[in-house]
Homo-oligomer: 507 residues x 2
């Protein structure tokens, strides 16, 4: 056993994972844990210490970010030697190294998120954590009919390879949907992707090709983008937001300093904040991006989920300079499980984008593309969207009402005009959203912590709540539990004792 | 009009695209075409010159690779200035630049391939070019039944988000298939991907993270890998093949010189050569890779398509060092259009691979995963495989017989023990496969030229023929046409006149 008794101070203000990391760091630096020592598997150590595995994983990630440990393929986490040296012609060491330069964020956010999601899925937990739309509105029967129609009509053709750019009639249907939004677009300008995420990935592959690329993001920003940037070692440059979205007044300076490859922005019903960018700000953004020749990637994932008024014109529809890429999809509005999104790019780039799509996964399932096309042609989509909007508006309002009733007075939020998220801010001087999460999970309620959405490590005192995924009575119950957890945490924090040294006993 | 008359010398041994490039290069270098001049769109110039668009595209790519022209978003191809200079604080030029550092191969191969594929799909053309399996064996009805069963059983759950790693019962079914091949694997070791290509892409994202990564490939090699490496700026280091596959005796030196992140290899029924690596060579490969700690990515796409004897043990099944990644799929053996493949990796890496999968497209269609699972559980798969093997064996033999009858005596090939490709070599001193292609397309027959499969620009005198995609009578007719085109080309080459200066008249 690695630790006979590492007594963690559960009431201390220092996070548990940092306590574990502190202890290991001390032992590594003192030489007690020698270079090449294998640390226990995270599951094993978590069990020994009686903590969540996420705690150990984060402790190891902390040490890896500091260069004190390294992870190896098929092997485990090892203590890094203080001065590793290999003669240049010596073969590299065995077992295979993964490289210890895994960016820290990848673990801090993506990994923590995965673990939190796992906790959130435990039975009995009411979860506002995921970005999942409500299952009850997915038109299962209409899709079953569409698939059957397609297979009867097209037979094996629907299951064979085809153009990487996508099934032309679907591209045409999507072009029509976009033309209705005053976007000048032809079917041939549209690339079908495996969901909106892949549209973003492919755009980055083409525009941010170098490791030294920088990308402008909203601060906070969609987690899936930050993880993608991290995994591709692209530097996200966060621009603060105000109640009108990205602070365009700060953009010029950032462009001049960082020479970004791209500006990524979600003007409608932003994830995670729910903020909508007004028309004037959109025009200012386009103007400055065009002036400096920086392309914009506009994410329209939530555009059709508006509750108060029709959405404002997209950046793409206002783009006269030919610099806007638009990524959209059907996962949040219609059905996540067929994995279909699209990318509209300046025409000149279309061939290169299609070639890039082909290198990632050859093509998107032609069966699913054809089924979506058949569904869109059936005329059900506008009716479906109205149903979903009505239901989500009701849920949003139910959550707002419950928050008003159950949350402590310190909580602060804004009503989003669309989308599926509510962003709640906690006071800066009090406990963090992570602490609230760990308290709340004992009350069987979960959410997303704000800091996972931050490029710069901010928003430790914010939480994101998905109001769309649960029916109103569950929302009411979940918010009641969360309010209770929050109040309990506040009561605990107020009786916080002074930090004292961790009591650690080692075998 | 850009050229009033650029007279191309169609009988010359210099390729047409090089003639076009030569002419443009001369005009750029002489200053006749000034910096920032926009070249005509490739479609327009191709029409003017009466050549295939692929010719112009390749001419521009040639010049782009030489740094003489550059492509810009939404704009076109422009002559690059001889000495571009911008003061450091000056904003970048407008319109948006795509970067002129697009690797040359991307255009030379991937793009040429796309254009050739387009030609090959014209009506009346018998095509041996694509990597497509035969449509007539795709079990459409069984899949329709499987999808309906799944939707009836799981409802909206089959269309909702789920674990990025994949639908667990499918991972379990695949683990069983692999266990039957003596691979020690659990369901949790398997990551479901959007086809085998994505399994390769994800492995590269994790193991070859740096732009300076090098990757060992067979020479020649799967085109989709080379395009992927090119788009990610990873350097492919080709190792020659002999009739036993990758020359392992040359590997040590290459590893020491290039320190590759990974060795990519297709031991069974290699694409494009059809070669199978014998057991002794497999063991030698594993031994040397383990000694130097270089992971191996084994592509098993064609493993189930064996015609003469059961396939040899996979590298994964022989791997005692925990260094083999195995990528496989169902596109060539069962159904391309549901886009499902898988990756088996050393367990320690599983979490990181799943996180990476999530950044690329969140998850693979759960509906398609569940349908494949239901199909595999139905017990039809082994029967289907036997049907396909029998049919493809007949097609292979029909193609071999037709080649024997119709090809010129100079042609040279080997009988593949499996897979779907025949690799044919032309004499080094004669016309190239590209010239043969351009002659053959007039006879309404198409194939893939060897050089697109080469990391180092070799195999200009080789062609790849897919024998699986057409029924035997079409194979016989297509090979007859190809033989005729080949003989015509040989007759033409023998009367070749000496090169003379291109006759170019400019407006």
């Amino acid at each position: 056993m690695f630790f006979s008794r590492l007594e963690l101070d559960r009431d201390k203000s220092r996070a548990l994972y940092l306590q574990v990391a502190d202890h290991l760091r001390q032992r590594i630096e003192s030489g007690d844990l020698a270079s090449e020592t294998r640390l226990p598997a995270s599951r094993v150590l978590a069990k020994q210490l009686g903590v969540n595995r996420v705690t150990v994983v984060n402790a190891y990630a902390e040490l890896e970010a500091e260069g004190l440990v390294t992870t190896r393929v098929g092997s485990g986490t090892y203590v890094t030697g203080p001065h590793q040296s290999h003669a240049p012609d010596e073969p590299p060491p065995i077992p295979v190294r993964l490289g210890s330069s895994q960016p820290r964020r990848h673990w801090d956010a993506g990994h923590m998120m995965t673990e939190m999601m796992r906790l959130a899925r435990q039975p009995g937990v009411i979860s506002f954590a995921a970005g999942t739309p409500a299952s009850e509105f997915i038109p299962v029967n209409e899709f079953r009919r569409a698939i059957n129609d397609v297979l009867r009509r097209d037979g094996a053709e629907a299951l064979q390879y085809e153009e990487a750019a996508g099934y032309f009639p679907l591209r045409d249907s999507i072009a029509e949907l976009l033309q209705a939004q005053a976007i000048e677009v032809k079917a041939s300008d549209i690339l079908i992707t495996a969901g909106c995420q892949q549209a973003v990935d492919i755009t980055l592959r083409v525009l941010a090709r170098s490791e030294h690329s920088a990308l402008v993001v909203e601060e906070p920003c969609y987690l899936g983008l930050l993880d993608l940037l991290s995994s591709r070692r692209i530097t996200p440059v966060g621009v603060p937001m105000d109640e009108q979205g990205l602070r365009v007044d700060q953009l010029e300076q950032i462009i001049l300093r960082h020479r970004p490859s791209l500006i990524y922005v979600t003007p409608n019903f932003h994830n995670p904040t729910g903020i909508t960018m007004p028309l004037g700000r959109r025009q200012a953004l386009l103007e400055i991006a065009a002036r400096y020749g920086v392309p914009i990637l506009e994410d329209t994932t939530y555009d059709e989920l508006y509750y108060d008024h029709q959405p404002l014109p997209t950046l793409k529809s206002l783009d006269t300079a030919g610099i806007v890429f638009q990524a959209g999809g059907f996962s949040k509005t219609l059905v996540p499980g067929i994995r279909i999104g699209y990318l509209v790019a300046p025409s000149q780039l279309q061939e290169r984008l299609v070639a890039t799509k082909q290198t990632t996964d050859i093509l998107t399932s032609p069966l699913n593309q054809r089924a979506l096309h058949a569904y869109l042609e059936s005329g059900h989509f506008p009716i479906h969207l109205k149903t979903v909007r009505d239901a989500y508006r009701t849920r949003r309002d139910a959550m707002l009402a419950a928050m008003q009733q159950h949350f402590p007075l310190e909580a602060c939020w804004r009503c989003p005009a669309g989308g599926i998220y509510l962003w709640v801010e906690m006071p800066q001087h009090g406990p963090t959203a992570t602490e609230l999460y760990l308290t709340a999970i004992n009350y069987n309620v979960a959410f997303s912590i704000g800091s996972v959405f931050s490029a710069g490590g901010y928003f430790a005192h914010a939480l994101r709540l998905n109001f769309a995924g649960c029916p109103p009575d569950e929302i009411e119950e979940g918010i009641r539990r969360l309010g209770k957890a929050w109040k309990e945490l506040l009561a605990r924090s107020n009786t916080l004792v002074e930090p004292r040294p961790a009591s650690v006993h080692i075998l």
